[in-house]
Subunit: 217 residues, 2 copies
DNA sequence: CGCCTTCGTTAGAAGTTATAACTCGATCGC
DNA sequence: GCGATCGAGTTATAACTTCTAACGAAGGCG
C-alpha cells in the first residue's frame, strides 16, 4: 500500500486473479461451509481448468489459511475502527455481532470447529492478539471492581496469569471484563449462527444485548 | 431394550458390526475431525473392502448423523444422570465440562460449525430439548430474582417468548438462569476446546468455575 | 434339504487434490 | 528489434474419495 505503482503488470494481474479466486472461495464457503470448498469447482467457475489454480495457491490448505488470515484481518480492522470512532465496550459488542451476522461462515473460520492437526501461522496469532488488545483498551474505562467473591478470585488468578496481556497496562478488573466479553458474547453468537436457537422462539438479539448491558453496567 | 433375546443371530451380528464401524469412526474423528472421516479408511481398518460398509450405513452422511445422534444421547444421559444423583446447577456444569474434555470432537459434533445445508432429524432435536429440560429442572431451585434492570428486561422477554420451555413450569428467572448457563459455559468450553486459550497462560478451569459460581450464586 | 435373504466381493463412474510435462505468450535484457 | 527466459494455462496421470451395480458365496429359515 505504501509504495504503489512499482508493481509490474504481471504482479498486478497475479494479485487480481488471486483476489478473484478468493472471492469465489468465499461464495462457496458461504454456500457449503469450509469443508465444501473445492479448488476444481472454483477453477471451473472462472473458466479455467483445474491445476491452473496451483500457480496462485500451493494447495487447498494454503487457500483456506489465507481466507482465515483475511477473516482475522477483517475482524481486527472492524474492531479497531469501531474503537477508534469512540465506541465503548458495548459499541464493540454490537460491531462484533454485526460483523458475525454479515457472514457466519467467516466467523466460524475463526472461532469454529478446529481441525485437530492444524496450527495457525504466527502472523495470524499476531492479529488475534491485536484484537485482544483492542478489547483490553475498551475494557479499561469504567473498570468495575469485583463485586462478588467469585469475581475477585478470578481477578486474582488473572493478576498472576496475565501472559496474554503482558504488554498491556490494564488492571485485573479490565482483564476480567475483556475476557468475559469475549467468552460470553462468543457463546451466544456461535450458538445463534449455528442455528441452535431456531425453533426456540426467543430473540438472540435480546439475549445478546442483555449480556452486553450486564458487562458494561 | 424392552423385549430382548428376540433378535436373530443375523441381527446381533449386524448390530455388533455397526457398533464396530462407529467405534472406528470415532477414532478417526478424534484424530482428524469430522471432515477427515473416510468410509474407505474405516473399511480398510476393519479388513474389508470399500463398499461393504454400505450394507450398514446408507452413506457418509448417515453415519455422521448417527454419530451426532449418539453424541446428543451421551450428553443427555450424562446430564440426566448427574441431575438424578442430586447435583445442582454447579454439578451439571462440572459434568458438562468433564464430558466435553473427554472427547472434544464429540462436543463439536453437537455444538461446532454447522454445514449450511444440514438439518438435524426430529428425533435429535427431541434429545436436545431433553437436555434443555434437565437444565431447566436444575435451574429451578434457588431461583435468584433479577438483580439488575437488564436481567429483568431479559426475563420479561423470556416470559413472553418461552416456546422452548412451553412444557416446563419454570419461572422466567429459571429460564434466564438455564439460558445463561448454556451460553456462557458453551462460550468458554468451545474456545477452550478449540485451543483459543493456549499460549495465553491462563487456566480455563479457573474461568469456568468462576462463571459457574456466578451463575449459582 | 432347498430356497432365499443377506453379506462381501470386484468393477466402475464421477468426483476430489495434486504433480508432471508441455505449449504458448509475454516480458526482459541486449 | 530480437532472442532468451520466465510464467501462465493446458492436458495427462496418479492416488484418493463416495457411491452404484453386478456377481459369488455363505448363512439362516421353512
Amino acid at each position: 500500500m505504501a509504495i504503489a505503482g512499482k508493481e509490474t503488470p504481471r504482479e498486478r494481474y497475479r494479485a487480481q486473479l488471486r483476489a478473484e479466486i478468493k472471492q469465489h472461495a468465499w461464495e462457496q464457503i458461504a454456500a457449503a461451509g469450509a469443508a465444501g470448498l473445492s479448488l476444481n469447482a472454483i477453477a471451473k467457475q472462472m473458466g479455467m481448468s483445474g491445476p491452473a489454480l496451483y500457480r496462485y495457491f500451493a494447495g487447498r490448505d494454503e487457500l483456506i489459511t489465507e481466507l482465515i488470515r483475511d477473516a482475522y484481518r477483517s475482524l481486527a480492522d472492524t474492531i479497531r475502527a469501531t474503537a477508534d470512532s469512540g465506541a465503548d465496550l458495548a459499541g464493540l459488542g454490537h460491531a462484533l455481532r454485526a460483523w458475525a451476522l454479515d457472514d457466519p461462515q467467516r466467523y466460524f473460520l475463526i472461532y469454529g470447529t478446529p481441525v485437530p492437526g492444524y496450527h495457525a501461522p504466527d502472523d495470524i496469532t499476531m492479529i488475534a492478539s491485536e484484537i485482544m488488545d483492542a478489547l483490553l483498551d475498551a475494557a479499561q474505562p469504567g473498570g468495575t471492581p469485583a463485586d462478588t467473591p467469585g469475581d475477585s478470585r478470578l481477578e486474582a488468578h488473572l493478576a498472576e496469569h496475565r501472559g496474554w496481556a503482558a504488554n498491556h497496562p490494564a488492571p485485573p478488573a479490565a482483564l476480567r471484563r475483556a475476557l468475559l466479553f469475549w467468552t460470553r458474547l462468543h457463546g451466544i453468537l456461535s450458538l445463534e449462527l449455528a442455528g441452535q436457537f431456531t425453533g426456540m422462539g426467543l430473540d438472540p438479539a435480546e439475549l445478546y444485548t442483555s449480556e452486553l448491558r450486564h458487562l458494561t453496567r
